[in-house]
Symmetry: C2
Subunit: 102 residues, 2 copies
DNA sequence: TAAATTAATCGTATATTTGCGATGAACGAA
DNA sequence: TTCGTTCATCGCAAATATACGATTAATTTA
């Protein structure tokens, strides 16, 4: 990727929505989000049992969702409990809905 | 990317939704889709005027959206007119809505 | 037929994504 | 303190994504 022309001026919401969409752009991350939207929370260990990928890979996907602001993790030694991000999930949800119903 | 473990069995809808989300995971493509959801159609040339990227780059983004099934192009020589994909956009829309309202 | 217009595709360079195993950090239990 | 458990992070390899300019293909106009 390179940027030679003047910086693009996307709207803030367009960039936000694109970032949320990008974070959802993998089946594993959709799967994780579906679990978190259908039940309250889950532990990393639950996911490593359901999803046949290496623990480190699942951890990376969780990090991607966390970095995107879609989920949040709470340390419950020795486990980590993940939930939807209380602050951002409603924002993401609204951005998608507005996008789908213009 | 490599796959050494047994093939994953995601649900068909999870894979579909992830693919749609992935296609939307770039601000330019969000911008294009917003134009197409707010007005009927547009020509490639309209986009190259609005978006300060090389024509070839915009064409690539259009291809990504087309490959994902979100838009469709109609040749209107010497231009090409793009619209939402009549068949798939409603499907994508429903998948997102069901995902957002579980 | 030749020239102009429009948009897709090719070729290339760089950055990011995705996967893995190995290692490290934090904590409770023995 | 030492040992296990749990999860994040590191380091690597391969694949994809993103951008560009140059070229090609298709069609209309002169």
């Amino acid at each position: 990727m390179s940027r030679t022309l003047a910086e693009l001026e996307y709207s803030v919401d367009e960039v936000k929505l694109a970032n949320f969409a990008k974070a959802l752009g993998h089946p594993v991350r959709i799967q994780i989000m579906k679990i978190l939207t259908s039940q309250a929370c889950c532990y990393t260990g639950d996911l490593t049992e359901i999803i046949p990928l290496a623990q480190s890979t699942i951890s990376q996907h969780l990090k991607a969702l966390k970095d995107a602001g879609l989920i949040q993790g709470e340390i419950m030694p020795p486990k980590v409990k993940y939930c939807l991000n209380k602050e951002n999930w409603p924002i993401a949800s609204k951005l998608f809905k507005d996008f789908l119903n213009p």
